[in-house]
Symmetry: C2
Subunit: 192 residues, 2 copies
Amino acid sequence: MKFLEDRIRRDGQVRPGNILKVDSFLNHQIDVDLLDQIGKAFYDEYKDAGITRILTIEASGIAIGCAAARYFHVPVVFAKKAKSRNIDGDVYTSTVHSFTYGKDYQITLSKKYLGPDDTVLLVDDFLAVGKAMRGLLDVCGQAGAKVAGIGICIEKGFQEGGKILRSEGYKVTSLAIVDHMTDDGQITFREE
Amino acid sequence: MKFLEDRIRRDGQVRPGNILKVDSFLNHQIDVDLLDQIGKAFYDEYKDAGITRILTIEASGIAIGCAAARYFHVPVVFAKKAKSRNIDGDVYTSTVHSFTYGKDYQITLSKKYLGPDDTVLLVDDFLAVGKAMRGLLDVCGQAGAKVAGIGICIEKGFQEGGKILRSEGYKVTSLAIVDHMTDDGQITFREE
């Protein structure tokens, strides 16, 4: 989507190691008008897919999930990354490796909030190697929920996550796909 | 606020140890219509306060911060709980003790997103002992930002956080104040 590419060009910052910083508008400070556009873009793509729940993962995914859920008029559920004593009862769990934090962590989702009658849109801010998304898909598999698609704000097209997911038959909707970044800040987006 | 008290009475669950679970609508699964009402309630209270930024803390605060920021048409900034290699440059930090997770953690906020020209509304889902809010206030102090007030969804009125903050002169707006809970699920709210 042009609106997100434009914003990334204007306010994104490239750091060595293929890091794209969007913390001025997406995942530390959040521009809520942009967030609303993101939610609407996912709605436009999946409005006829019978979505019953939006599923995402804390922390950055929460804002995006809420923005989408407002358009779909369905609940958003976010998988938790830490074991909280405030989640009890039966849970789905999956182990995820984070490259950002350099360690494995477990995600947890209460079985009350996802089941075989659900048709789910998964959303997140970034898709790179796809480890977090793999954890969410694992949880959907355990729940028997149908995955209508995966909505991503920024896909790092030079990493394999999106390619593998598409090859497995998942519909992946990325609002901006970065195919190349240079250390001096040039960003090349995939043509739609 | 009656709307949140009603929802807590209907869907909240009391657990031994003064735990109030609201994970079916506020902090695991989120009802986005309720979230919108929460955002509007904070706006109604602070719309003339000159708010320039909403400040909150990951993870549960993010949804609430976004809901409020939409009404104020200002950015929301959330303090991060884990050290990410995606935050660089100068940061404010503060140490917070979590009773939910039983440990200390450090919160981090980029100096780019809070400064002496800001007038801030702080929001969070719960206020109990007030440790997380103390960390955010510490960050505001470091930034020289003006704190217009503190917007809380659910205050545990039988713990001292709200009382101490009010005694220090902070305006604390809690949409529901629980004065008493019994293990068999009875909840007594403070009269407005």
